[in-house]
């Protein structure tokens, strides 16, 4: 049921956009090409970050340090059918989306994206943001030093997302 509906969202969004565009007499194809160029530029822009952070994650992983953290916290998770790798992932996701992506791909490679661990990873990554990164960028731009209740609120929302992902995966 979930899967069937999920599969329909993407095509429906595409139909909606194209149809509205054509009704409004937008040059849909010209527009698309223009946007696609921007999309490619974005990929080029994030490529260096991705290389840097994936290498860092790769080194951490190959050294055995991540599995050390995983085994320290992850034993109880395995009772729920989740790999211990999700522990460092949850932690890193709060700092950097690209670094977390490196871990996600590791998890997909090892467990497969359709496994319980893979699904938890997919959902958790989709419903949380890079809390510390976002805060530092936004507050740096507005020269704020005292962030008051931003961090408690941000952590609470992040925790809610992680808990929701966990329960959704359990009952999927």
């Amino acid at each position: 049921m979930l899967t069937v509906l999920s599969n329909m969202v993407m095509p429906l969004v595409v139909i909606g956009i194209i149809l509205t565009g054509m009704i409004k007499k937008v040059d849909v194809y010209d527009c698309f090409v223009k946007g696609a160029v921007d999309g490619l530029k974005i990929v080029v822009k994030i490529m260096p970050t991705l290389i840097g952070l994936m290498v860092a994650v790769g080194v951490l992983r190959a050294s055995g340090f991540l599995s050390l953290i995983g085994t320290l916290f992850g034993e109880s998770l395995e009772r729920w059918g989740l790999g211990s790798e999700v522990v460092p992932l949850v932690f890193i996701k709060m700092f950097s989306s690209s670094a977390a992506t490196g871990l996600v791909l590791d998890i997909f490679r090892e467990y497969g994206p359709d496994s319980r661990t893979g699904m938890f990873t997919s959902i958790m990554m989709s419903c949380t943001e890079t809390c510390f990164y976002t805060m530092s960028v936004y507050y740096m731009a507005s020269k704020v030093k005292k962030t008051r209740w931003t961090l408690p609120g941000a952590l609470l929302a992040t925790a809610a997302g992680i808990i929701a992902s966990f329960f959704i995966v359990l009952y999927l």
């Binding site: 999920s6 599969n7 969004v13 956009i17 509205t20 565009g21 009704i23 409004k24 937008v26 040059d27 527009c31 698309f32 090409v33 223009k34 946007g35 696609a36 999309g39 490619l40 990929v43 991705l50 952070l53 994936m54 290498v55 790769g58 080194v59 951490l60 992983r61 190959a62 050294s63 055995g64 340090f65 670094a99 992506t101 791909l105 497969g112 994206p113 699904m119 958790m124 990554m125 989709s126 419903c127 530092s136 936004y138 731009a141 507005s142 704020v144 962030t147 008051r148 209740w149 931003t150 408690p152 609120g153 941000a154 609470l156 929302a157 992040t158 809610a160 997302g161 992902s165 995966v169």
Partner: protein
């Protein structure tokens, strides 16, 4: 912040690699992961181009502007201390709308602009205003409905059904945003 984290990740990894005798694996990882990052970008390029292309059509067709109008009441409800026609309203609306649609790179510029205008409203105090805190909590609670990146990664690693994540992700995102909004409203009420 990121500089320290990145540096520490490498340092810890290499030092721990020496200690645990995994230094050969660490050495291989340096090259291997640099290469796989590029491979990943090539896979992502197609999907990114498709999505941003479609969003460009949505912008030209006025779908984004409609969203901004639609979101006005929401912003008034969340941040009652922002004056009605303050310029920060538009940027907050654009940020929320692009965030929901997964236009990550369009929503950050709008978000930064919104923060600048909120700083004006706050007399450039180094202490964040309620609206600033609330706006950031809302952002960090994650608003994106369709996790395009995740779908792309899933298909790259052989998922039978890459988009199976969409509906669960929407549910989880709605829950985290609900909790975030609850917290924002609580904080606002407390100060009155």
């Amino acid at each position: 912040m990121l500089n320290i984290i990145w540096g520490c990740m490498l340092l810890i990894g290499i030092v721990y690699g020496f200690l645990s005798g995994n230094i050969d694996a660490v050495s291989n990882a340096l090259l291997e992961y640099a290469e796989s990052a590029v491979t990943l970008c090539i896979t992502m390029a197609g999907i990114m181009a498709l999505w941003v292309g479609l969003m460009e059509i949505a912008t030209s067709a006025g779908i984004l502007k409609k969203l901004t109008q639609l979101l006005r009441p929401v912003i008034r409800y969340l941040f009652p201390d922002i004056p009605d026609d303050h310029p920060s309203m538009d940027y907050i609306a654009t940020n929320i709308a692009t965030n929901i649609m997964g236009l990550g790179w369009a929503c950050t510029p709008a978000g930064l602009k919104a923060m600048e205008h909120l700083a004006d409203l706050n007399d450039h105090d180094t202490r964040a205003s309620d609206a600033m805190c609330g706006f950031l909590v809302l952002n960090i609670s994650s608003l994106q409905l369709i996790p395009v990146n995740m779908i792309a990664y899933r298909s790259k690693y052989g998922s039978v059904n890459p988009s199976a994540v969409i509906l669960p992700a929407i549910l989880a995102t709605m829950f985290s945003t609900f909790v975030g909004i609850l917290f924002i409203k609580m904080k606002y009420r407390k100060e009155r």
